[in-house]
């Protein structure tokens, strides 16, 4: 029988400090809550990056060009979830 405390489903605070601390701890003893905190920190980081990118001046990116019209048949980036 496990004597561990029941785990909460509430995400741990995803601060940069806790992320760094978790990345330097032996993951063998991690709980789901620890891993959720890592995921939450990384998602928050991504959100911040995307907000920054969205508010930055637009830079025209060269679109990926397919080598021939025939190449475009199977799938497009949009179709594939990008």
């Amino acid at each position: 029988m496990s004597n561990q405390l029941p785990q909460t489903t509430i995400l741990a605070e995803a601060s940069p400090e806790s992320f760094t601390e978790l990345m330097n701890r032996d993951p063998l003893g991690f709980t789901r809550q620890d891993r959720d905190a890592i995921v939450a920190a990384l998602r928050a980081h991504r959100e911040r990056l995307e907000k920054t990118a969205a508010s930055a001046p637009t830079k025209v990116r060269k679109a990926i060009a397919l080598s021939s019209p025939a190449d475009a048949q199977p799938v497009s980036d949009e179709d594939l979830g990008i």
Binding site: M23, R35, V39, L42, R43, I64, P74, D79, G81, I82
Partner: protein
């Protein structure tokens, strides 16, 4: 004239080599063929003799962990787990595999963009982007397993003129996925550069992709329509993803196949003569050959250098994944 290399230590058992001519590889994967195309001597050291550097490259650790993460995720999803639970399994796997329990510290990388933190970030963001609601649905095999890390082998149609044995083409595919009732081989490729035309252009022509395209035609019962690259750009502070189709028509596959016959004949010639020439125009490509310091020494000093700085392993592409 023959310039044979000195007989080295007995080689570990490797089922991909001939029993009649022990330096002749018969089970050929894209890595083996690619190494020979780059340089016969490099192929000899890395595949025939099995030498590798003592320190595993950060690129390799990162690549293996990322592929394993996708595999773990697909297994979890195929057994009914939702995205968050499958991601959790995947993350747990990555965290464990990059923790050095003997030293009580995380894996340390010498490449700033390929560290434990950038790996974990890439896995989470990649699976959030191209795992959850992925339009490329991983195929479920008849045995109930997802079609990930699939090993293939088939008769190449070429035979050794010396031993009469068949050359087999073999390898391992990341994943086969279905999209609009068509099947695609999906391969993850990482880069530090932009996911642009130049990046995706490097896969046509490309030894690995051409072999995979051929395998897709003849190696499986599933009719594979093409290949798709999951491109992963990794920076110090970000990871980006893009997908791109790779096509090979019948004529392109035939052209690669004919070329492969030429290369197999050369492999056989080198094995028969014991002469594996250096291609000294390749020493600096792909970031520099790991054996450059060996080849830069006098032939009489190379063995000592190899034994001091390298270790041996068996690269046996005929062993299916999960059997080692």
């Amino acid at each position: 004239m023959s310039a044979q290399l000195p007989a080295l230590l007995p080689r570990p058992l490797n089922s991909s080599f001939s029993t009649k001519l022990p330096t002749l590889q018969l089970g050929i994967d894209s890595t083996s063929l690619g190494e020979f195309k780059i340089c016969p001597r490099r192929y000899y050291y890395s595949l025939v003799e099995g030498w590798q550097t003592r320190l595993q490259s950060a690129h390799l650790v990162f690549g293996i962990a990322l592929h394993k993460a996708r595999e773990t995720y697909d297994y979890a999803r195929s057994s009914g787990a939702g995205h968050e639970d499958a991601l959790d399994k995947s993350l747990g796997e990555v965290l464990q595999s990059t923790w050095n329990s003997e030293l009580g510290r995380p894996w340390l990388s010498d490449i700033p963009i390929k560290t434990r933190v950038t790996l974990v970030r890439t896995v989470v963001w990649y699976l959030d982007t191209l795992g959850q609601d992925d339009p490329l649905q991983t195929v479920q095999l008849a045995n109930g397993r997802p079609a990930v890390e699939l090993s293939f082998r088939f008769d190449s149609g070429y035979r050794s003129r010396l031993t009469g044995e068949a050359f087999l083409f073999c390898g391992h595919l990341d994943r086969i996925a279905r999209f609009h009732e068509q099947y695609y081989i999906v391969d993850i490729k990482t880069t530090g550069h932009s996911l642009d035309e130049r990046f995706f252009g490097q896969f046509t022509p490309d030894n690995q992709m051409s072999l995979y395209a051929l395998a897709g035609r003849v190696g499986y019962s599933i009719p594979v329509s093409g290949l798709i690259i999951d491109g992963v750009q990794i920076g110090v502070g970000f990871s980006r993803f893009s997908r791109f189709p790779i096509t090979r028509d019948e004529a392109q596959i035939n052209e690669w196949y004919e070329g492969a016959g030429h290369w197999l004949a050369q492999i056989e010639h080198c094995a028969a003569t014991g002469s594996w020439p250096q291609n000294d125009k390749s020493c600096g490509v792909y970031g520099g050959c790991q054996f450059r310091k060996v080849c830069s020494r006098s032939p009489v000093a190379r063995q000592t250098w190899l034994e001091a700085n390298f270790t041996r392993r068996v690269w046996d592409p005929l062993v299916a994944r999960g059997e080692t």
